[in-house]
């Protein structure tokens, strides 16, 4: 019953490493899916552990028609562990709720912004902003916002690379992958590296698309120029995600200077194997629990005392 938790941790920590050998588009899809499954499996595991304790509570046992004494006798889970699992569930629910709320608020704000900006889906909006910036807004049909300062600083081929990069974010719905990965990580902190890997993978995926349109060299130059144009962070970094992303410009440029990534059946197979193992452990846990309660229930005695 503990194994799904372990498997989820392994997937969260090892998955990104394995995915590094994959082309970004594959990596993002695989990791996002793996993250969801790992989050669900680990929550399932916690619920199962907690349930072994809840099941020993007399009123519940009466409803379920199993014997409390039999259950507590056969229960392989120490009381303290089950209590810990039970205690973890409400905070996790809160974290998930908060993450969902934030995602929803972000999305609504972005939609409002798009509506006030006008333009058509996927259209570029030039902005008179003091800082050079470029981003894609994945709501309200999608918009690409680039500051005039950045446009003026880049030659036409590099502008093309930036536009192609942002258009790729919208076309492939990267916001969905990133959102899903972050929700998964809110359910299991071991999945935070996975969520970061998904975010970085989306940038690489968009970079590769930009390289197809504008050429690898121009795409690399665009990333480097844009990063150098940005002002250095004023004070303390604003959060974990920001810090991790701080070296991503360098990595992205290096990746664009190297040849385009190719498919890697072994890496994908390994990732698939990890996920299947995870699902298998969850299935095992479910099966074991079912057995446990069945055995406690055979020759059922409703509401038996200790």
């Amino acid at each position: 019953m503990y194994v799904p938790l372990l498997a989820a941790a392994v997937l969260g920590l090892g998955g990104p490493r394995v995915a590094r050998g994959l082309p970004p588009s594959t990596a993002v899809r695989a990791l996002a899916l793996a993250g969801v499954l790992a989050a669900l499996a680990s929550c399932f595991s916690l619920a199962v552990l907690a349930w072994t304790l809840i099941g020993q509570w007399a009123p519940v046992a009466a409803l379920g028609h199993w014997s409390v004494s039999k259950l507590s006798g056969a229960d392989p889970v120490p009381r303290s562990t089950a209590l810990a699992a039970l205690a973890l569930l409400p905070p996790l629910a809160l974290l998930l709720g908060r993450s969902t709320w934030r995602s929803g608020a972000d999305w609504l704000a972005a939609r409002r912004l798009c509506r006030s900006l006008g333009g058509s889906p996927g259209q570029l909006l030039v902005v008179d902003s003091p800082r050079p910036d470029a981003f894609a807004v994945a709501a309200g049909g999608g918009r690409i916002v680039v500051s005039r300062q950045l446009l003026q600083a880049l030659p036409a081929p590099e502008r093309r690379a930036v536009l192609a990069h942002e258009a790729a974010h919208l076309r492939h719905h990267h916001a969905v992958y990133r959102g899903v990965a972050e929700l998964s990580a809110s359910l299991n902190p071991f999945l935070l590296p996975l969520a970061r890997a998904v975010a970085y993978g989306c940038e690489r995926w968009a970079d590769e698309d930009a390289a197809t349109v504008a050429g690898r060299g121009h795409a690399a130059r665009a990333v480097a120029h844009a990063a150098l144009l940005g002002t250095p962070p004023a004070g303390a970094p604003r959060g974990l995600v920001l810090r991790m992303g701080s070296t991503s410009s360098v990595e992205r440029v290096r990746a664009l200077l190297a040849p385009a990534p190719r498919r890697s059946p072994p890496a994908l197979a390994m990732l698939v194997a990890l996920v299947l193992a995870l699902l298998a452990t969850a299935g095992e846990a479910a099966h074991d629990t079912e057995l446990l309660f069945e055995q406690a229930g055979s020759r059922s005695v409703a509401g038996a005392g200790p």
Partner: protein
């Protein structure tokens, strides 16, 4: 020296419109179709540029004025209406964690700047 540029895929219409908008945004002054063509510098046909400019103008994304025999186009003023304040608000409200915004450049720490400059030199000089 990294792999050469080109291998240009046929641009879709949305991408072309954005490139024209970007060229006009970069210029900071109204441009004639010929000037836009020169700025994009990409083997496009004059008629393609003209069509794109007309379409954007019809959408209200561009304003135009007479310039000799041709028109000169500029990004419509009310469209670049996103103020610095709005942008800052958007970027500051936890938007770095935002799934809905994907920024092209991230905050670069000072120690990474020489690294990037070296890489740029490598691209240009190789």
């Amino acid at each position: 020296m990294p792999a050469g540029e080109g291998g240009m895929v046929r641009r879709d219409r949305g991408m072309l419109e954005n490139e024209v908008l970007a060229a006009l945004g970069a210029a900071g002054r109204p441009l004639t179709p010929g000037e836009v063509l020169a700025e994009l510098d990409d083997g496009l046909a004059y008629t393609t540029v003209l069509t794109t400019l007309s379409r954007l103008h019809a959408k209200g994304a561009l304003s135009r004025q007479r310039s000799g025999r041709a028109h000169a186009y500029a990004v419509a003023a009310d469209r670049s209406a996103l103020t610095a304040r709005q942008m800052r608000r958007l970027l500051d409200t936890g938007a770095d964690r935002s799934r809905v915004l994907s920024r092209f450049l991230d905050e670069l720490p000072i120690e990474d700047r020489p690294l990037l400059r070296d890489l740029l030199r490598e691209i240009d000089g190789g």
